[in-house]
Each structure stands twice: as structure tokens, then as C-alpha cells.
Symmetry: D2
Subunit: 344 residues, 4 copies
């Protein structure tokens, strides 16, 4: 039987992607869509300007949007996916959890809080244990879990695969798609024939979130990984797919083949949205490319290529679809993990 | 009185830029345009498909193109600018120099040869002394000087400015414009909504040429700088202007202000094409941007921004116009240096 | 049982699309791939630079490419899809037909020849009767059938639907995707931040082919439709999907609703690649758009929108995927028609 | 001595272009910059996010922005350039004129009002006579003059040149740059790899404004030209420069040469911002192109090409820079006309 789920902030770009992923989902059934007060009471068709490349399903289109308030969401909804703006998320996500809901959130608020699990199921599913700490400390009935930022998710699986060689330092340069800023986040005047070498707050997210994801959980707290991570983030004129140039300094001195093998053999998880192979490796030096490779594994795989040895370790490129693996798909995958692990 | 100059490979993209720069030049006068045998004998208007954004001057358009052969170039031409394909350059540049011509070349052949000066006048004009070694060893009457690759030129002035703090390591990620590949080098199908994370041979050029440019010349040979340079090169959908993300590890621990001051106070040279200030520094974190800033200093300035401290040194972005400062303008500037230093 | 088919010119952009469509096709089975002499003898994987967005199937990749010569193609191949350059097509297509093959060709040669059917199955399947004339006149055993140019196909279904109102004149402006020029046909330097208001030969193709497609066949010859068609063709920076602004002068004065109804009710055909509804009509004035709507009907539907009355008739926009409905898919659909009508 | 001028709505995209044109202007001197109340009292540097490709002049940057209110503008300012949003323009432009100011406005409000001159100086300077009617009817001390919409301006000079052959009907398809929608008017998600076949209100503007511009003024009123004009407007991924495909039906049957001659010989006016030749004609069929040709005549020329005969008249393409000739430059040129004709 399907788990009844809701989407907090359902009209935005990530909200629409969430609906696109949840409609055909075998385990989840959409039972509530929330938005700001100005949209509450309208049909979803009317409240959202649907821009996803598959048509909006009729039964979803006819749902009445409710306010983003625990009292407006039916009690039999067990799991909420949140793609609220971070300031709104910071205000209302705790209210939902206090009211007993389990929330899988893509919003950036609270990601580094000590008692909030920040998880990529294939990388650090064990951090879910933090939920016990969370319930103890906050007295919450529900649970709040976060997925990391899109640019962080793209890189971390590859770093996790390399950590067996002793990850010491990461310099990473990103070439990020415009969809990462939301539908109206980057104007055409800004980006045609241009590149913007700065994305507010993005470098810091990559530098801190990656160390939490790669950190160790001892049952009580997460100790950040001690690698030194430095990011430089660029917006480029692509629609979807973040490409990243990574320099990883390693204690050991693995061959290129060993690095490729570490990527390709990195274990996946047995969850619906997780691809058969988490990290695809290209031998062609000019791959992966955003337009050609972003939909690998239905948009949930990470791809890597251009692996070269450096004096200090290895250099390579990685890519993931920023609104699938990097946002909506990440939240759905965390929801599947919560279901699998019995948190619902 | 003007120096009579010629352009080897005058019909290509860099050849056209060279003509655009040389026509209004106060010190040079175009007296010969060469191209492949199939173009020889035709007017330049007819032989070249002019694509530069200023109209082709009538007197240039009416010049008869000659073959790329020393016998076809008038004897009173003293200086030749070469933008030949590297395999052609490797074959014919030595013939011209043997015949007594001074050649300022943008072609990539021979840049790392021990007796060929690879120069950016503001950075290592003293390497011109290698021409004595060159004449001695090769028995040439003329002289052959090279400018570096466009992506190298963009970065090296900033590294030269930082070397006072003890440059130890450089990781650099480039976002390069399509014009760097020539007029037909990148197809629209390859680059619309896409990024290509590899440019053949480019990373190696950056890694080797930068160490030669920053190296020391003792009157007999150039000792490469011992910094460890690792480059990752990407093609992005911009027309002109290479943007680069640089991590520079330094022995000393300068403040951001000291780094900005080192950039801004880096000395220029008193040559016609050199800008008043070589390195412009932006305080806005999202600058420089290719479309907005590539024409600073008439396309001959380098700009920098986004300076941030790292655990090991400093991170920043730099930008230069790849076909001006990075190619045609670089060759012209080297020609001005040769004239100034009495090599003509 | 599947019909064994081959692809003439299998390594090019349209050839690759043909393979992409034929591999999962329920009626056809690929048995021969031809290319130029330089590719003959190599595996397809090796001979083609595969650029389609689905992976190349292994069994296709391992096929040995043969020369584009009737003697090199196995005798049990019944149907050949041709995407040869038009000059090559003009030379070799007749050789294949003379040798008994049935050829469904996307190449532009011969499209206006009086005894060669130029067909869109949903529009003028009856023109297939010309094959009798063709066999009589040329003494061929096989048959040669053409599909029209991509920009023609996009518009003609809508004109066919309007002809019930007495089509008198058409002014059409096209905004064509770069893929229409082949993989390397438009350079990035030409099209970034730009539009090219001319495509060699394209306007003439639209003006003549559309009148043949809309013409009447009396069993002996096709009489061209007498509408006056004038086209203006532009290349724009889109990857796939030709959008066209059409002014259609009509004898009658139908309402906008009647025009929309004529589009939506235009009958389809019962062939595998033909969509359930040939012409989709949008009510939103800003649709169809290339990126959002080109894949309607698996890339085989035409869409229309922005219908408005003019003093002389009607103005509207239409869109189709230029390499699917407009090229490879058009040839496959014609092949299905030939099979259905018993020509194989 | 310079005329003191002001800019109403100085912080927007057109306002910035106006400042860029007015700063070096030999006849005008900027003495007032107005914006919304939230910007009033701040320096211009602070109130405007300067995005024009030339640096903001220091003395302009230090000006204090005032509210868009006649009481806030110094009395010695004689001429105001308005680039207000049309609803704001409709409300406040009359207040300024009532207070005695002469206003040259780019805002779309009131363009079709019977007593408001809508002028392109090279086309219908005589319509300025409407100002007498305006003063009589409204009792205004000042004067209000409008320039047409950017897409209208691009086409009308060519139509004016053709009217000697009896202009009867115009079908026009536009390919418009994103800057026409203002800095944030088109998002990158909307336009990368895409075209939008609709611009709200734009077609109607072209259809009505062009008939007023080409209309005749008898000293009392303007009679609209009776040509039938139908426009279809598309947004394409270019930064600046509107390209238009025009079908002009003509009573006479001029040769292509006669049409080209009519374009090239169309008389200019002796005003500072008017180019030496108003309409440049290209013989190359693929010109004009937006990126290559938008800056002809310092952005104030119109260019034409691709002239072909049709059954009913002629087909051709035309191009103009939409924020120069099509907006800010148009207003400045009208200001120059007002000065020349003694209205200041």
C-alpha cells in the first residue's frame, strides 16, 4: 500500500520536479500540496505555472492547494517533501515535525545543525541515527532530514569513493546550470555569451556540507571529515547539469585505473530511485558533458571522467543532474530511505 | 617612420585580428599578407572571409595575397607576425628566420624550445636575451619569438604578481570562449546548452608555458619556475574572453588586501599596446565576467576578482580577452618590444 | 516477421537518428549500414562518431559498414533509408533502385521530379501511385520515394488542414534549429548571440515542395497546388525544432475556432510512427515553443498555436522536430507506408 | 551652450542607455535623474545597478536621484527624456508637461493619442506640428512627444522608403533580442535552446504605430496610412538587435535594384544622432545579422538585405539596434529635433 505524502512549496521549480517524480512512484501517493497563502484554495493547475517537460497529470492539476501549515495537511499524510525557500523552511519545518510529520527537505536551512541528518543514502545512510538524538533533544514526534546542496551532491559520491586512499584536500571548480537558481534566478541578459564567477553562499555550502556528509557518526554525533575543501562556483549558460573540476589530494598514490575502479565499484543501495551504478566512468577525455550525460540513470547517476594523476593525488571531472540527483530526486531518495528504515 | 610588417597566415581568425590591430598601429605598416598556395595571387578581400566586427580597410582588401614563402615576401619587410597552424609554423617559420626576418609568432610550435624566447613583455621581457643564444646556436640572421597560449597569458600576470609571496602550487580551472578554437573550431551542436570539459593539449600548455614565463634567465638559459601547476580546461558557450578560477598556494600568508595591492601595482611597460594598468582588480565578487569585462584596456588588460584566502594561500578569478591579449594583441606587443629593444 | 532494411549514409547526423528509430522498430530490422569508401570495412562504432542522446546498441556498433554500392548490400535487404548528401544521392540512389531496392530517401535530390513521389503519409499517401509511372518510365524494378525538407514538413500538415477553406497564398517565416544543418553545419561563432537570416536553397524548397505535396494526383501526374508560397528562412540558436510563423490567405473566412478545429481533426494514418493526433493545438499564445514542445508525439507530431484572424485569412505558428518528423522519422514513416501498401 | 536635460526613470535599462548617450552629447547636459520614491535621495551609483558596457561617469554616479515629480526637478531643466513604465508614464508625464516641461518619451502610453506626435525624425518630422494641437486642446505649457516601439522603428524607415511604390500590405515576422524586455524581462530558463513566439502587445504596437508614422499630417490631424499591417513577434536568444522578415505588397512592380536604391537614397536629417546614411543595404543574402550589424551608424542606422521579388511586391529583411535606434537613441534624436525646431 502506498504511503501518503505531501509537498511543501509545491508550486516552485523543485516542487514541480518533486511532483513529476512522485506521480509515477510505486511507494508514494500525493495527498497534499502546499504553497503560500496567496495560492491556498486554488487548484494546483491554477496556482502553479507548470514548466516541467512532461504534462501535468489531471488528478494532480485538480488538487486544491492548501497553506503551508500543519493544520491544513491531512493527518493521514505521513511524509512531507519540502522545497520551501530557506527562510520559510526555517520557520515552518519545525512546526510540521513538532506536529508529528516526517519531513525530507531540500531547503538549505538547518543542514549543518548537529542533530539534523544530512544524507545521501548511498554515502552516509548511517547518519539517520541522528534522528534519535534529534527526538531526544527537541522532543519532536516527527523527524527532519536534509539532503545537501546540488553542487555538493555532484561531488561527494566521488570523494566518498576516494576516501579509501586518504582524502586530504579538495579544490573544486563548478560550472553550474541556470536551473539551479530556480526558474527566474538567472536572467537571459546576465548569461547569454557570459559566465558569472560567483554564486552567493554556494562555495561555503560545498565546503561545509561535504565534510559533514563524509564525516563519521558514532551514535551520538557526526565528526566532520578533516579534509580541506575549497570551492569556486560559476554559473554557465546550460539548462541542467552541474559539471565540476575536482583536484583531490590523497595520502596514497593510486593509479588512474585504481581511481576509476573505486568510482565504478562504489556500492549503491537498494532503493527505488537509486541507479544500478552510482558513478559512471567515461574513458573519453571530453566526457561527461552536461547536455549529453545529465540524464544517466534517469537523472540519478553521477558521472566522472578525465581522471589524471597529479603530484598530490588525482584530478577529474564529475557531473550530476542538479534538479534530479541534486534536488528533487535527492529528497525522494531520502524519503525512500526513511520508509525502508522504518521511520514512517 | 613606420616599420614595414607582414602577416603569415593572414586569412585565419587570428590573422584577421592581427590586421585589425596593425592597420591603425602608429609604428607598423602592413606590407605583406601570406596564406596557403590556394589563396596566393588573389586579393585579400577575395581570399579571406572577413569576420571581424570592424569593416575591412579598402587598401588591405586590395592587397594581393602571397604564398607563405620567404621568396614571396618583399625584402623591406622587417617584422612578420605569424598565426600559422602549428604544423605549418614548425615547417616555415625557421625558413623565414634563416632568410633574415624577425618573426613574432602566436603559433604553438617551439614555444618550449630552450633557445626560443616565450614572452609577455610585462612579465619577462628579459628573456629576449635568449635571442643571442638562438642566433649563436642556429646561425640565424633573423629572430624568432613566441607568445604563449591564450589560457596561459590570462593567468601568468597574476602569478607573476604573486610570486613575491613564494608561489608553490597552482590549480587552475578554465572557462574558455569558443573563439579560442578558431572560427569553425567548435560547432553549435557541441556547445549550445553544454560545456566541454576538455581541450586537447591545452592543460599541458598551461602547465609548461607558465613555468617558462615565470622562470629566471641567467643570460644563457631559462630555468623553469618550480611551482607545481595543474590545469583543467573547459570550453563554455561564450564568444570571447577566458575566465579562470585559480588556487595559488603561497609560502607567505598575505592578506586579501596585500594580494589585491600586488595585482594592482604590478608594473606595466611603456609600449603602445600595453594598458596603463596591467591587472584590474574588481571588488564585486561576481566580477570579472567575460562579456562585461573582456574589453578592458582595449582588450589588453587582465582583470581579477573574487580574491579569498585559503588554508594554503589564495583563491581568485582572472580574465583576459583570448584573441586580443591572448593571441593577436600578444604578438603585436611582442613586436613592439622587439622594435623598442633594437632587434629590428 | 521483420523486414530487413539498410541505411545509406549511416554515419551522418540523420543516419544516426535513423538507426535510433529503427533499432526498436517492430516492423524493421537493420541488416546493412553503408557509408563512404573511407568507412567501409570498419565497424559502425569505429566509423561513426555517435552523438545521439541514447547509447549506441552493441549489435549495431559491431556491424561492419559497407560501401554505398548495390553490390555491397545483401540481397535480402528489401528497403533502404537514404540520408546521403544530395549530390551523392543523385548519383547512387538510381543505381540501388535499378538493382531492385525500394528506397525511402530524405536526400533533397529529385524531390521535384515528376515521377518521384514526394510524400507525407498523413497528407498525400495517394501520390504513391506515381511509383507505377516511375517504373513504367524508368524501367526500374525497385522504387524511389522522397520525403520533403524539414521546414516544409513542419508547415504542410497545417496547410493541408486549411485547404478546405481555399488556400490562396502563404507567407512563412522560419526560425530553424542548428541541427537542420547537420552536426557541423553551423559553427558556434556564427550563432551565439546571433541569427542568420538566410539558409541556402531552403526558401525555394519550401515554396516548391509544399505545392507538390498539396497538389492533386490524377493517376498519371501531380498537378501543383496553385497557392502562392513565399518563404523567408532564418537560423536561430536552438538545437532542435523548427518554429514557423505562417500567414495563410484563404478564400473563405473561417473563425479562429474553425481553424483550430480543422487542425485538431485533421485525420492521421494507422502507421507505427504516426502520432495519435497529427496536429496538436495550443491555446496559450506563447506556445508551441521549440524546447518545450518538439517531442510531442515522440517527435512526430506537429503543433500549432497563436491562431489569429487577418484581413485575408489567418495567421498562426507551427512547430515540428526537424530531425524526427522533419527528416529521419519522415523517411521511416514513408517506409511504413510502402510496407503497408504492398510495395515491399 | 548646452541644454539642461533630465531623465525620468533613470535607473532602468533604457534609463542607463539614455545616460550613456547623453553624457558625451554636445548639445545636452544631464541636470536631473529621477526614479521611484525608494531611490530618491540616494546617489545614482547607489540607486542604479549599472549594467551598461561603458563605465558609469563619476559625476553622474554622484548625482542625487530625485523623485519622479515635477516639484523635485530643477526649473532650469528644459527637456526630459522619459523611460518610465507605461502605467507610471501615463500618470506622471502629463504632470510634467502641465508644469511646462518638454518631454521626449519612450514609454508606450499615449503613442496613438490623436494629439501626441509619434515621430522618427527621418520619417515624419512634420508630425511635430501636432504639438500646436496638443497645446490648444490640453492647455499645456510644455510638450509631449513619443518615439515608437523598438520593433516598429526597425521596420518603418524601410516602409517609408517603399511607399513611393504604393505600399498596400505588410506581413512582418520579428526575431527580437532579449534586451527589449528589460534587464530581467526574459529568464535564461525561458530562452536557452528556445524561441518564444509571442510578445504581449507587441504585434498590435507594430500594426498601429507604423500606420501612424507613415500617415499624413494636414496641420490638424494625422490620417493613418491605409496599408494593412500584420505582425508576428518572436523572442530569440540574442542580446541586442531586432531582425525582421518583411513582405511588402506594392502597387508598382519595382526591380530589386530599384528597391535597394530606394533604401539607400532615403534621405537622412541633419541631427547629431542621425547616421550619415539611414538605411544600409547588404548585398550578401545572409546579412544583416544582429551581432555583426547592430552597431552600424553607432547603433542608429537601420540595415536591410535579402531583397527578393514576390508575386505581390517585395520580400526583405531589416535590422536595428533595439535599445539604441529602437529606444534610448530614438528619444534622444527626438530631443534633438525638438531643439532644432525651436520647441525648447
Amino acid at each position: 500500500m502506498s504511503t501518503r505524502v505531501g509537498v511543501l512549496g509545491a508550486t516552485g521549480a523543485v516542487g514541480q520536479r518533486l511532483i513529476q517524480l512522485l506521480v509515477p512512484h510505486p511507494e508514494f501517493e500525493i495527498a497534499a500540496l502546499t504553497a503560500s497563502e496567496s495560492s491556498a484554495g486554488r487548484t494546483y493547475r491554477d496556482a502553479a505555472k507548470w514548466r516541467v517537460d512532461t504534462p501535468i497529470p489531471d488528478d494532480i492539476a485538480d488538487l486544491t492547494v492548501v497553506g503551508t501549515d500543519p493544520e491544513d495537511v491531512p493527518d493521514d499524510v505521513e511524509l512531507l517533501f519540502s522545497s520551501l525557500p530557506s527562510d520559510v523552511g526555517a520557520a515552518v519545518e519545525p512546526e510540521f515535525v513538532e506536529a508529528g510529520y516526517v519531513v525530507s527537505s531540500n531547503s538549505s536551512n538547518g543542514r549543518m545543525d548537529e542533530d539534523i541528518p544530512l544524507t545521501i543514502p548511498e554515502v552516509n545512510a548511517d547518519h539517520l541515527g541522528l534522528l534519535e538524538v534529534q527526538r531526544d533533544e527537541r522532543g519532536w514526534d516527527g523527524a527532519l532530514i536534509k539532503n545537501p546542496n546540488c553542487s555538493t551532491i555532484t561531488m561527494v559520491p566521488t570523494l566518498a569513493a576516494l576516501d579509501q586512499f586518504g582524502l586530504e584536500r579538495v579544490d573544486v571548480s563548478t560550472l553550474q546550470a541556470v536551473s539551479g537558481a530556480g526558474y527566474s534566478g538567472v536572467t537571459s541578459m546576465e548569461i547569454i555569451d557570459n559566465v558569472i564567477p560567483h554564486i552567493g553562499g554556494e562555495a561555503t555550502k560545498m565546503e561545509t556540507e561535504s565534510r559533514k556528509l563524509l564525516g563519521s557518526f558514532d551514535g551520538a554525533e557526526v565528526t566532520l571529515h578533516d579534509a580541506d575543501v575549497s570551492a569556486s562556483c560559476n554559473r554557465v549558460p546550460t539548462l541542467d547539469g552541474h559539471l565540476e573540476n575536482v583536484w583531490a589530494d590523497l595520502e596514497a598514490d593510486p593509479s588512474i585505473e585504481a581511481v576509476a575502479e573505486a568510482f565504478e565499484s562504489y556500492p549503491g543501495v537498494d532503493l527505488h530511485s537509486s541507479p544500478d551504478r552510482l558513478i559512471e566512468v567515461f574513458e573519453e577525455p571530453d566526457r561527461p558533458q552536461p547536455r549529453l550525460d545529465r540524464m544517466l540513470g534517469d537523472g540519478m547517476a553521477v558521472s566522472a571522467g578525465g581522471i589524471e594523476a597529479t603530484t598530490h593525488g588525482v584530478q577529474f571531472n564529475c557531473l550530476a543532474h542538479n534538479t534530479m540527483r541534486g534536488a528533487a530526486g535527492a529528497s525522494v531518495l531520502n524519503g525512500e530511505l526513511l520508509l525502508e528504515e522504518g521511520y514512517l
